[in-house]
């Protein structure tokens, strides 16, 4: 709890530091706040403390996810030092809003009450709506912000309506009680409860961008400032899945038949739609948006396999995915700058010639996303498949494997561009800090793949 309070306080401090008109101190202060918050989080490991009449339970699950999100946010802030250098005004707000969003994410990992989940989702979303419109003069950015806001509010409405219906049926917001209430029906739920649960799931599915509720994500990812996109693709997705898992694990499992089928269909749709759309993309950000939808499908697969280790596999998958995605966006930012603002895949041409080390680390990161050994991404997919196959979902696993193959095509398409010659190469400039961070991420992805890492949650 102290971690959440501290995070809020630091968010406000950073916001006020904006008056100082000194951009250089913002990132260090923000990162200090995150680090202290991380220490405080880890201190609570194993305690399982409850707050607000049990509306929040901070257990090992939430701490593990919180720390993983903190690490990724620190990474994004470190990259932000360089990214926001050119921005004249409102830099403090950027950091502060991301910290506020992170606070919301913390609530999403530790709720045990539907109201708390709703609060978490809203606290996460509202800063994001603003962040997505961060480039005020850009048409795309405005479009992204507006689209995200409209569709997001729509999903929120669904979600709230679902909560209301469930409350109407069960007279409680408290997840364990809802679980008991559902259990007494033995799988044949009354329509009101069923519809309510369905709406709640739709609301969460929208946040994690599972097909068919994914339509916002490519446009929003494309239009938003790239660093915000990186934040959305990683931290927000992790938070969404933590909430999803908690919702299912604490309240809804075992799912009633129709709902489980719905979720399976959504899983397969994400894998299929994400892949098919990604094959045709020429814009790198859109490509990563669709690839994120595919990864969502794999995370759903881990979650729906319902095993004791599902949570730890999910944590591993989200973390590894985030660790590869953020530096890829950063490499993209540098290539975009070198090519005067283009976002096509072809901007990667000539990377190997100019910066061989960068091309090598890009290879490692893309390999991790594609799930090839010896990277961590392979181990993550391997663990998901172990879960699903050992639970007997053979057909779906084979389907997912075929989808993984398709994924390799577009990741290696990007890689192929990076290793081919460019006609008129512009110099790629990269600061020492960013270079070091990309290398650290690449090495981490390799090491996480070589040395197994499990958190008992």
């Amino acid at each position: 709890m102290s971690a959440i309070i501290l995070l809020t306080v630091f968010g406000i401090i950073v916001l006020y530091l904006g008056f100082a008109e000194n951009k250089t101190i913002l990132a260090p202060v923000a990162i200090t706040g995150l680090v202290i918050s991380m220490v405080l989080s880890i201190k609570d490991w194993g305690l399982g403390s409850k707050y607000f009449h049990d509306m929040m339970i901070i257990d090992n699950f939430s701490i593990a996810f919180n720390v993983s999100m903190l690490i990724i946010t620190i990474l994004i802030f470190l990259f932000g030092i360089n990214y926001y250098k050119r921005m004249e005004h409102h830099v403090a707000e950027q950091y502060a809003l991301m910290i506020f969003a992170l606070t919301g994410a913390f609530l999403m990992t530790s709720f045990s009450n539907l109201i708390m989940l709703f609060l978490g989702i809203e606290i996460l979303s509202i800063p994001l709506y603003i962040l997505a419109g961060g480039k005020k003069s850009s048409f795309r950015s405005n479009e992204a912000s507006f689209k995200y806001f409209l569709l997001g509010s729509f999903a929120t409405a669904f979600f709230l309506f679902g909560i209301a219906l469930v409350y109407g049926a069960s007279a409680t917001f408290y997840l364990p009680e809802i679980k008991n209430y559902i259990a007494q029906f033995n799988g044949h739920l009354p329509p009101m409860l069923m519809v309510g649960l369905l709406f709640i799931l739709i609301g969460v599915a929208f946040k994690v961008a599972v097909a068919p509720f994914h339509f916002w994500s490519p446009d929003v990812y494309e239009g938003s400032p790239t660093l915000v996109t990186a934040f959305m693709a990683t931290v927000v997705k992790t938070a969404g899945f933590a909430a999803f898992y908690r919702l299912l694990g604490m309240g809804l499992l075992p799912l009633p038949g129709p709902l489980e089928k719905t979720l399976w269909v959504m899983t397969m749709l994400s894998l299929l739609v994400g892949n098919l759309a990604a094959l045709n993309q020429t814009n790198f950000k859109r490509l990563l948006a669709y690839s994120a939808i595919v990864h969502t499908g794999f995370m759903m697969l881990a979650m729906l396999s319902q095993h004791d280790s599902s949570a730890s596999v999910l944590l591993y998958y989200t973390f590894v995915y985030s660790l590869a995605t953020v530096p890829l966006f950063i490499i993209f930012i540098h290539m975009k700058r070198a090519s005067n603002g283009l976002e096509e895949l072809s901007i990667f041409r000539g990377l190997y010639k100019q910066k061989p080390w960068m091309a090598v680390f890009m290879t490692i990161l893309l390999m991790s996303l594609a799930g090839l050994p010896p990277t961590a991404g392979f181990l993550a997919k391997y663990r998901v498949f172990i879960l699903s196959i050992s639970r007997g979902y053979l057909a779906i696993s084979i389907f997912a494997i075929i989808m993984a193959i398709i994924g390799i095509y577009y990741y290696f398409y990007v890689l192929r561009e990076a290793f081919s010659e460019s006609n008129d190469p512009n110099p790629i400039e990269i600061t020492k800090l960013n270079a070091a961070l990309i290398i650290v991420c690449g090495v981490a992805v390799l090491l996480l793949g070589l040395f197994v890492w499990t958190v008992p949650i």
Partner: protein, 488 residues
């Protein structure tokens, strides 16, 4: 410990090479490392191949890091370490860009290939199996020929498709081990899966190897990839990587899904024989020498795959002998093709002819390799293919007849191609080319010597194979049990 050294020496040398700048130093160090590995392997073979070397390290990718070898692994190890010095040496002739990177990738490939052949654990096997693909992908992408970007991607996706099904198979087998929670081959071999599971699991496992070999309907990546690959790339692909398919099939299919093998035996043999005839006929129509040899290689590999599924002593012995023989021959053949291309600047048969007048020594060397390739008596190809045909004849005379077409059709298209390259009237365009030089002799003479020595005196290898075939028959005991059950 010696296995660890053999496994890691190439890749560590390769990493060291990345720090160097001088091309000559890089080449000599790479060659030296490959030679040391060859000597270590020969030393390993001279000792009794019975021990399994194990390191228990559960924290390596969550699995046991178990290395070991039996007869089959040894043959594959010998082939890999025998060919890599030549592959590295063949890079001495031409000035490439980024020599350290190229040699690093080649040595990296060598390490991962050795890993594939030594892994005693299916998960580890899979890691190395995939790992081979990555350096090869970059060798093809960065040093390949015309249209390399599209072809490389196709090759990569094609092979990965198979691999991922293999991964599915491994995880599925893992779930069958139950409370053991292991992917060790020794545990997999004890599984005794139900027959209907074996029939479908066979294809899940086999598809990866069928693509790698490649056999008939899965071969479409092969000709274009071979044709555009650089000299060293194609040598690695054709010489060693195809053997991964044979090794994998022997490791996975026969001990783990014996009833599946028996069930699909005739189907696969038929596919292989279609491949033999199909590849031979297409090879005959090629005008590009490299493409021609790619198809000829496919015909020979298909014959070997057929031998593998004939499941008897002679065919297995022939198969393993042919692993060495085909590897050596195809590497020599591709080296010569590239030599011709470097000298004449073309690969097209119609533009050649009369080369013998300008380069008589090259003509002699090519003739000897071609004879080895078409399995003329006194060459190693003859010993291998004769044993294979004998084995096939034990299965069915018709299989042997169609299998034998490899040799007959092979003789036709290879000699025809030889005739169009070397013989004929003096060709004014090619009259000024240089003949074979010292470096070419250094590569070709040892390879040709191996071809002929093994052809005349195959006993040392056959003795070594005795061990291998015995160990393989140990693997095949479950299958044989089923066979006898079936016959009764």
């Amino acid at each position: 410990m010696i296995l660890i050294i053999i496994l890691l020496l190439p890749v560590i040398t390769g990493l060291f090479l990345l720090l160097l700048r001088n091309p000559a130093t890089v080449r000599f160090i790479a060659l030296g490392s490959a030679l040391v590995n060859l000597i270590l392997t020969l030393g390993l073979i001279s000792t009794v191949p019975s021990t399994t070397y194990t390191i228990d390290s559960t924290h390596f990718m969550g699995t046991q890091f178990t290395l070991g070898y039996d007869g089959i692994s040894l043959i594959m190890l010998l082939l890999t370490n025998l060919l890599f010095p030549f592959i590295i040496l063949s890079g001495f002739t031409r000035a490439h860009i980024k020599i350290p990177v190229l040699n690093f990738l080649i040595l990296f490939t060598q390490s991962s290939l050795i890993g594939v052949f030594l892994a005693q654990n299916a998960f580890l096997f899979y890691i190395f199996w995939e790992l081979t693909l990555i350096p090869v992908y970059f060798i093809l992408l960065l040093w390949g020929g015309e249209n390399r970007r599209a072809v490389t991607l196709k090759f990569f996706i094609y092979t990965l498709t198979g691999s991922l099904f293999l991964l599915f198979g491994i995880i599925y087998l893992y779930t069958w081990t139950g409370s053991l929670h292991t992917t060790d081959f020794s545990a997999f071999n004890q599984l005794h899966l139900p027959a209907d599971t074996q029939t479908w699991l066979f294809w899940i496992l086999f598809i990866a190897f069928a693509i790698k070999l490649p056999i008939f309907p899965f071969h479409t990546w092969q000709p274009s990839t071979y044709t555009m690959a650089s000299k060293q790339g194609v040598m690695i692909l054709a010489g060693v990587m195809t053997k991964m398919g044979i090794y994998g099939a022997l490791r996975f299919l026969f001990p783990i899904v014996p009833q599946g093998v028996l069930f699909w035996q005739n189907t696969v043999i038929t596919m292989c024989l279609i491949g033999v005839v199909y590849a031979s006929v297409i090879a005959f129509r090629q005008t590009n020498i490299k493409r021609l040899i790619a198809f000829s290689s496919m015909a020979h590999i298909s014959l070997m795959a057929a031998a593998m599924f004939a499941l008897n002593y002679y065919s297995l012995q022939g198969l393993l002998f042919q692993v060495i023989s085909h590897g050596v021959t195809i590497v020599a053949l591709f080296y010569l093709v590239h030599l011709i291309q470097e000298r004449t600047g073309t690969l097209e048969l119609p533009q050649m002819g009369g080369l013998k007048l300008a380069a008589p020594n090259m003509a002699i060397l090519l003739l000897m390799v071609v004879l080895g390739s078409i399995a003329l008596p006194l060459t190693s190809g003859f010993v291998g293919e004769f044993l294979i045909i004998t084995g096939l004849a034990k299965q069915s005379i018709w299989i042997a007849v169609f299998g034998g077409l490899t040799m007959i059709l092979g003789a036709i298209y290879m000699l025809y191609a030889y005739q169009r390259i070397m013989l004929g009237d003096e060709n004014p365009a090619l009259s000024k080319i240089k003949d074979v030089q010292v470096i070419d002799y250094l590569i070709l003479i040892p390879l040709i010597a191996i071809i002929f020595i093994l052809g005349v005196y195959p006993q040392p290898i056959l003795n070594l194979l005795e061990e291998s075939v015995n160990s393989m028959q140990k693997l095949l005991i479950p299958a044989n049990e089923v066979v006898t059950l079936f016959l009764r």
